[in-house]
Symmetry: C2
Subunit: 297 residues, 2 copies
Amino acid sequence: MKFTDKIILGDCEKVLQDFPDNCIDLIFTSPPYADQRSKTYGGIKPDHYVEWFLPKTAQFFRVLKPTGTFILNIKERVVDGERHTYVIDLISKAREQGWLWTEEFIWHKKNSYPGKWPNRFRDNWERLIQFNKDKNFAMYQEAVMVPVGSWAKERLAKLSETDKIRDESRAGSGFGKNVSNWIGRDMVYPTNVIHMATETGNKNHSAVFPLDLPEWFIKLFTKPGDVVLDPFVGSGTTALAAIELGRNFVGIDINSEYVTLSRERIKESQPRLPSIAEKKAKYIVTKNGKHRKTGKK
Amino acid sequence: MKFTDKIILGDCEKVLQDFPDNCIDLIFTSPPYADQRSKTYGGIKPDHYVEWFLPKTAQFFRVLKPTGTFILNIKERVVDGERHTYVIDLISKAREQGWLWTEEFIWHKKNSYPGKWPNRFRDNWERLIQFNKDKNFAMYQEAVMVPVGSWAKERLAKLSETDKIRDESRAGSGFGKNVSNWIGRDMVYPTNVIHMATETGNKNHSAVFPLDLPEWFIKLFTKPGDVVLDPFVGSGTTALAAIELGRNFVGIDINSEYVTLSRERIKESQPRLPSIAEKKAKYIVTKNGKHRKTGKK
DNA sequence: GTTCCGCATGAATCGATAG
DNA sequence: ACTATCGATTCATGCGGAA
């Protein structure tokens, strides 16, 4: 029986035991942060977070394909005025399990509400930790290219009409000056700092991330037809993103209300047409290994 | 004899042994990153970075006042396709020395080195790790307030010279050059994500951080007359910032060329007039402890 | 004097080549 | 098989020369 395209009720650690080895292309998840969401997840204490999480990452390791990627969206809690160490401890321990700590993306949350405490400012970013089983993982960089200096174009748009005219006449053809540098270079690769607004919604889910976030990573690390797993699927955002991008999904959650909510939300969704950028990517595997000569191990 | 307002040649670990306990208000430094700048610093191997650094942080701990702060600008190197763990190991070990890991600021570098690789994008951020000896540290939050959103856009709309536009900070959370002009409008507290360009250009030193970066932390964690220490002072940027803000400084570097360069650079500098924002702060101590209710533990 | 454009270059990383 | 060095990649920025 097909194991994909379902939202499954249960503890991911147990549920995944019935899954075959090497069947998942991307794991994208935002687990319950320590001591948060206690009503729905039982409130794991920061000091016990690592031991709670490690058996689960062991299962993730088993079900993930060697070319697959595990993206973990997580943030430290401040405990007694200090950042707790469970995230960095988790990285150390995950490496002992065999995970490679390939990268750490920064999610800069553009629209957080301003806040102030006596000894700290608003925490305006989260970690998106990339783990891999193997250095030769699949990556489709072309799928997430961004327009060159979208901000620069914005600025040009603000030039007054007279300025534009002046520049044009001086240059003789087309846009003058700086614009010429951009011709033929309209798309560039992004960096590892991701600027995205937090979801302003509700959804009854206390840890909602914006749909754009899983979408970005799904486009980057999978091709259509691949399988995306979210073992803490919550309100189903990751599953929604997978469906819209024409990928298969597996969602797991221990809370039945979330499972119901997820199933409701995905019922109405369907694949979107791919953007030009995505088509351009054409799913050329730009795996690390491809660039090696064949003789090498 | 006065120990401040000097650039000292030597290994900070040794030099600081002659300093009294609890004499420094802020340590701001960007140590040589593992295996980088090997010409000038001897190129510490990533695997030995922590053991190399820890004796130094022990001295930092001794000379720092209980109300003082230690800001460490550091980044992991990628080794064999994986982020090396020396930074997170350092955080763990520093905590064993007694340091509190209070906060981690993110420096988003607007212009970092270009590049695209098979398995990663440009690394566009660095960590600014805040350590303290005590939960009750001094913090002057009003000194770094920034104009509320949209100010950048308004300004950009009025400018017609593209070159000037290019120079303007477009980041909402601050650090524009003319912030003081905007006093009187709505000011808000910044977040822990800092947007700033790296210093490039044709100075004699291998580009370090921009002057704005130490300035921001000096304003946030010290008042005029306080003592700022940079144990890896390099080209002297931290010392320059301290002088311009009317603080005392101590700079140490093991490399005599850097010491000479630093001394040259600071020779010409002098305190600037404080901005309105800084005056407004008026050095109201917003220590953590002050805001607690007396009854609370 | 001012505006505009060309160009060197930087806390980088990877893969290939050489020792 | 391992380490050391080198070339290719790639773009925001400041500076200097030109218009």
